[in-house]
Amino acid sequence: MKFKVDVAIVGGGPAGSSTALTAAKLGLNVLLIDRKAHIGVPVQCGEAIGKTGPSIAEIDIPKEAIRNPIRGFRVYSPSNIKVDYAKPEPDGYIVDRRVFDKELFIKAAEAGAETLINTEIKELVFKDGKVSGLIGVNDNGKVEVESKIIIGADGVFSIIAKMAGLRKYAKLADLDASVGYEMCNVEYDDQELMEFYMGKNVAPRGYVWIFPKGEKRANVGIGVGAQDGARTALDYMKSFMKDHPIGREKLKNAKIIEYRVGAIPLGGPNEKNILDNLMLVGDAAGQVHPITGGGIGYSLVCGSIAGKVAAEAIEAGDTSERMLSNYESRWRGKYGEEFSKMLKLRVLLEKAEDKTLDQLAEILNGQNIVDLTAGRKISILFSAVKKRNKDLLNLLNGFRQLKLIQ
């Protein structure tokens, strides 16, 4: 099979489909390629998405994918003191990624993108030192694609990023090992709050999550920093279900419907996501929240930016790196600062001892921290803290330097 297109996109997840949808709507000749036979499967995700991303990207969250509205989250500190961040109204959803990804893929196809599923890309083709196409394989045999622009939207282990030389191998420190389940018969505190459980013994350098999907169903999982091999993410997950005082109660009657394994990219964006005729989008670009690991919203927005820049570039007859740098500057203008701030916050939180986090939780106990981030009660917080604990004060000062509190 041979194709000659304006834009060839590798990866049919939210980033790829968003790019394809935007570019196709703008009249480009688009080819959207995925390795999988079933778009959206397997799910490797907590399935939470805010309303902001889709609205900026001008992409409707597929109604069929929505499982449950979410107002915020509840954190259980290492000794299980609850801290809530809850908005008065829902500002996000837990979705079903199988449906979400597939519907978005369909929308891109309906907008005019050609699609190729079950197709594995093997090579990035270079002509005169510049990216010019792809070679892949599927059940019909060899697939040859000639394209003015190639988009790498092929996820955390992007082979396009690797072959383009924009990323080598991932550092251990930048990945969390993750195990997740879809479960039914799960008890949760509040159906509109996502739950996080912290602690060095619960999930070192990470957390356990329970994201309610409604009707006692939930997306339950764990992310932990790379381990020395003595205990794995799966071991920690099992002990949460069996031994954690809150966890074992909530999951007492839970039944496992689906089992997922994955790595969560937390290292922040790649230094560079463009070459002549090439852009990286989504997980492949490292457009992932460095603490939560959330990336669907960023993928949709950055995908739509990539789609627009692709259209401008094709229109201008210039797909050089200089032209595509509009993509880099626009998406970094939107999220660059947020990512670097959250990377710093991650370092702060990783350094904090369980004891310090517990003391912070104690002071915040019973308050909705949505109010606190507005800055009103912070002086009270400081005077409360001063006499008690130097580590906690350092942590709060760190928060203040990052302008998370005033």
């Binding site: 390795r35 990945l175 090992a177 195990v179």
Partner: protein, 56 residues
Amino acid sequence: MLIDRVKCGVCFGCAAVCPFDALRATDKEIIVNSEKCTNCGICRKICPVGAITIEV
């Protein structure tokens, strides 16, 4: 290195962190290039399910 195919969830984490490009991921399994693999054990640390053992 050896991969326990029963435990392995084919998440590609090991392939992503391998500094020697010794692991290749297909849709269904991880393939080890034993000529490139140095048994350094970095892949074992990221494996969420403990599917990797390093031969000494």
